[in-house]
């Protein structure tokens, strides 16, 4: 017996459907690919520029070692000012990232778990350092330190190394808070409830059950804060100044080298920063992916915030 034919349920032309599907993916790929090409183009241009400069400096000399020895990157690494800048960047970024996570864990937890009046307002308020123009963050910090009790410490902070860390922390912490809130949102609150029913105080439930499950989120928050601090420039310029061998970090070095017309050194420092950011990004992705857990909620998996990486303004 033949099956009854249906005109209403008949599929559309299969060929047209296949073409439509392919066109859809192709359009998406072209639009997205333009941006990917822009990022890749910027990095490749920096590298090609560096190779050209190395080649012209090594002209007349034989072998790859001549390229390396005469590379502007090696020159930059030999420069005591750049070495100071690298050292201060590593120290200040690490300290601001530690401070950011230290603040972001309790703040992210409270925002995720506790319902209180004005919570939505506070949630938006915490985004202010992210949306505020970076120069304004620096200016606001500078103005803040004109009022007590901050003014009491202004002499030892403003235009000093602590200002570098504070300016980096002011922006980086906002990204860490976002990451930690998302992390705690993804940890099943019932685990905490069970812990409390088993006899835990709130602190014990947090420290013994929730905190261990947030470890990967904390690593993500740390790396994002670190990378964000590395790219910080606007607030530093206003609040910490750009004094060589004092408050100079890598982003400041790029600015100072550009100011004196030394494009080679500026690009060299930029590539050093790119290398640092890439290491951090790869680390974050690796730790994020390894948190896959098929049975329980995905603890500590935080969304990757690409916007946290990069220099500004």
């Amino acid at each position: 017996m033949s099956e009854p034919s249906s005109t209403l349920g008949a599929p559309r032309d299969r060929v047209a459907m296949a073409i439509s599907d392919r066109c859809f993916i192709a359009c998406m790929s072209i639009i997205g690919g333009v941006y990917v090409a822009l990022i890749a183009g910027m990095l490749i241009a920096d590298v090609i520029y560096m190779i050209r400069q190395s080649a012209s400096a090594a002209s007349g000399q034989e072998g790859w070692s001549a390229y390396i020895v005469n590379s502007p990157i090696v020159d930059a690494l030999r420069d005591p000012k750049i070495r100071y800048s690298i050292r201060l960047s590593l120290i200040s970024c690490t300290l601001s990232a530690i401070l950011s996570v230290f603040v972001a864990v309790p703040l992210g937890y409270l925002m995720s778990r506790v319902r209180f009046p004005g919570r939505t307002l506070l949630d938006a308020f915490l985004d202010i350092p992210i949306v505020l123009p970076p120069l304004v963050v620096g200016l606001s910090l500078l103005i803040l330190f004109q009022f007590p009790p901050f003014s009491w410490f202004a002499r030892s902070i403003v235009y000093q190394i602590p200002a570098v860390i504070l300016a980096q922390f002011a922006v980086a912490c906002a990204f860490s808070v976002r990451t930690m809130k998302a992390t705690f949102d993804q940890i099943d609150p019932r685990c905490e409830q069970v812990a409390r029913s088993l006899g835990c105080s709130r602190f014990q439930a947090f420290s013994l059950v929730v905190f261990p499950e947030a470890d990967r989120g904390m690593v993500t928050a740390f790396t994002l804060a670190w990378a964000r601090s590395l790219g910080e420039f606007g607030p530093l310029l206003i609040f910490a100044g750009s004094t060589r061998m004092k408050t100079e970090v890598l982003s400041t070095s790029v600015f100072l080298e550009m100011n004196v017309g030394n494009l080679e050194a500026a690009v060299s420092v930029s590539l050093i920063m790119v290398a640092g950011a890439v290491v951090v990004l790869v680390l974050t992705r690796m730790l994020g992916v390894s948190a896959t857990d098929p049975y329980v909620t995905k603890p500590g998996r935080a969304p990757h915030s690409a916007q946290a990486i990069g220099s500004e303004p």
């Binding site: 409830q193 409390r196 029913s197 088993l198 105080s201 013994l208 499950e213 049975y295 329980v296 603890p299």
Partner: protein, 212 residues
């Protein structure tokens, strides 16, 4: 014994009003009702997770209405077990006792006893992600019973299990009741499960409690 006296709880726009019942010591009460009718709200109020608007909650004759959940001594098994993902089964079973600073040898003995009762002795060194749904619920039940609570609250503990595992777990719950004599409140929307276990069976309909 669990006793509710004129319990009223508001949860957002939803409220349950003037609920009263008594579950005698050693009883196995099944609370049935449609999804969203307030069964879990009642259970969470008893455990202490919800602020109540009016009424009293008495456990073993003591008014615990304002008590912290940690002090009420209620074993709690949520729907999906909510196991601690970073702890082995052994640590989960000993968790409540280690919080109470009980001696390690006592914790070990209790863990082995529970594992034998629940048939999870071979799983002690595994972590939750490597357990099946039934195994996870057995561990969650063991963790809830570990500190020998007088009262056990189960929030749809079998709803995510296949029918065969569900039957096995029903048998296990009957066995646990016989062995421990714990007073149990079991929330479910499954009639078959309710009929197998209930003693007594309460139905929550339109905010009103009916005893079957």
């Amino acid at each position: 014994m669990i006793e509710l006296r004129h319990l009223t709880v508001h949860a957002g726009n939803f409220a349950i009003r003037d609920i009263s019942f008594v579950i005698p010591t050693g009883g196995y009460c099944v609370l049935m009702g449609k999804t969203g009718c307030g069964k879990t709200t009642i259970l969470e109020s008893i455990i202490g997770f919800r602020d109540i608007s009016a009424g009293q909650i008495l456990l073993g004759g003591i008014d615990v209405t304002d008590w912290n959940p940690a002090l009420r001594g209620i074993g709690y098994v949520p729907q999906d077990g909510a196991l601690f993902s970073r702890m082995t089964v052994r640590r989960q079973l000993g968790f409540a006792l280690s919080i109470r600073r009980i001696e390690a040898s006592v914790i070990h003995d209790r863990t082995m006893e529970l594992a034998a009762l629940l048939g999870i002795s071979h799983l002690l060194d595994r972590v939750p992600k490597s357990l099946s749904g039934g195994e996870r619920q057995r561990v969650a039940l063991g963790r809830a019973l570990s500190f020998e609570p007088r009262i056990l609250c189960l929030d749809e503990p079998l709803s995510a299990l296949d029918s065969e595992t569900r039957l096995q777990m029903c048998d296990l719950l009957v066995q646990v009741r016989q062995r421990t004599g714990v007073t149990t409140l079991h929330v479910t929307h499954n009639l078959d499960e309710a009929e197998r276990l209930a003693d007594p069976l309460f139905q929550l309909r339109d905010g009103q409690l009916q005893i079957n």
